[in-house]
Amino acid sequence: MNGDLETVFDVTLTVNGVEHSESVEARRHLADFLREDLGLTGTHIGCEHGVCGACTVRMEGEIVRACLTLTVQCDGKRIETIEGLSDSGEIADLQEAFRTRNALQCGYCTPGMLIAASALMAVEPMPSREEIRDHISGNYCRCTGYQAIVDAVETTLRARAEAAR
C-alpha cells in the first residue's frame, strides 16, 4: 500500500544548541521526541491537538506547537525548549516574576506560557494587558490563574523598559 516509501527516518536536530541524531518514526511528533527520546520533559503535552499550548517550543526562532509538528519535518532545524531558555538566562526575569506574582499554581502550563509570552515580549516592548491576553489566549491555564500571568508579563516588561532607560 505504501509502495517503497519509508516509515522510519534518520534525523538530525539541534536542540538547545546540542546536535542530536536519532532514528524516528514518521508519526512521532516533536513533543514526544523531546520528552521520550531526549528526556527533555519541560515540554508538556496537554491536549495533543494544538489547542492548549502546553507543548509550545521554538523552531528556527519562531514559536510552534510541538504536538502539531512531526519530528521528521524538523530534520536540520534548530529547536529551543524551556530547558534551553532557562539555562541561557534569557527569560530569568520573567521566570522570577512568575514566582513572585504567583503566576503558576500547578505549573503544568508554565513552560508553554513562558515561551509564548517571550515571543510577544521580543517584538512588543510595552503591549497593553489586552494585547498580552490576546497573545496568550492560545495557552490554557486550567488553574485559571490568568490575572497573575498577565501581571507577571507586564511587570517584567516594565522592569525591562526601566532598565533600558
Partner: protein, 282 residues
Amino acid sequence: MKPATFAYAKAQSVAEAVATLATHGDDARIIAGGQSLVAMLNMRLSAPSVLIDINDIPGLSDIAIEGDSLKIGALVRYTQALRSPLVAEHAPLLARAIPHIAHAAIRNRGTLGGSVAFADPAAEMPACILALGGSITLSGPDGDREVSADDLFLGLYETALGPSDMLTGLRLPLHTKESRVGFAEFARRHGDYAMVGLAATARARGDGIADVRLAYFSVGQCATRATGAEQALAVGDIEGAVAALETDLDPTGDIHASRDTKMHLAGVLLRRVAAQLSEAPK
C-alpha cells in the same frame, strides 16, 4: 492520542508530489503546515497511509503580483502574509481576517493554501477567497488548471480538488480604490473557531456600493454566499438584507450555538460588516 503508522515522503517538486499522489490516491494526504492535519492524525480522525510533505518544494512560499492578481503560494504561512506589505496593500481583507485565526504559534506554521484546500466549514480562509472572488491554481496528472472560488467548495471538507490534485497557490484580485472589504466573526475566546463569521467585499459606486459578495462561514457545510442579502445590501437595504438571510442560510445548531442563535448572530454580523463596507479601508 498518537497517529497511526504512515509512510512519509518529502517531495522536491510539484511534479513529484503530484506523481506520488497519483500512485497512492486516497491513501495519501499532502502535508504543508499540518496545523489541522496533524491534529486529525493525533486523534485518528484521519489515518492516511502516506503523507507527502511539500514544505521543501522551492517557489511555493512567494507572495507576488502577477498581472491583475495577487498570487499567494501554497506554502505561504499566516504570519508571513500578515507581515507582507503586498498583502496589506492589495488584499486588506486577509490582513483583517488573519489575526482572528488561531494563535501566534499556529499562524507561524499554518498555510493559507492548506486552509482553503482543507475547506473546514468554520475556517476563515475559504470564506475570504470566496468573498474576494479569487481562484486557486492546482496541479494534477493532466497539468495545471485554475478553479474559481465560486466552483471550489462543494460540501463538508469537500472541494473541486481531485484525489491527485495539489493546490499550488491562491490568486486574488487586486484591491482598488473602489474596493470595500468587511470582516467580522463571533468566537467565545480569541482564536477559537467562530460560531458564525462573515467575510465581504463590494465596490463603491456613487454614494452606495455594488457587486456585494457576502461569504459566511460556520453556518453550513462549507463557506456560503448569501446572495439574497447581497442584492438587498447593494440597494442599501440593510434590514432587507438581514431578513434575506432566512432564505440564504440554513445553519445546523451545534454544541456551541443553536440554529436560532447562529441566525441571530449572522444578522448582527451583517449589520457590522455593512458599516465596514460603506467606508474605504484605512
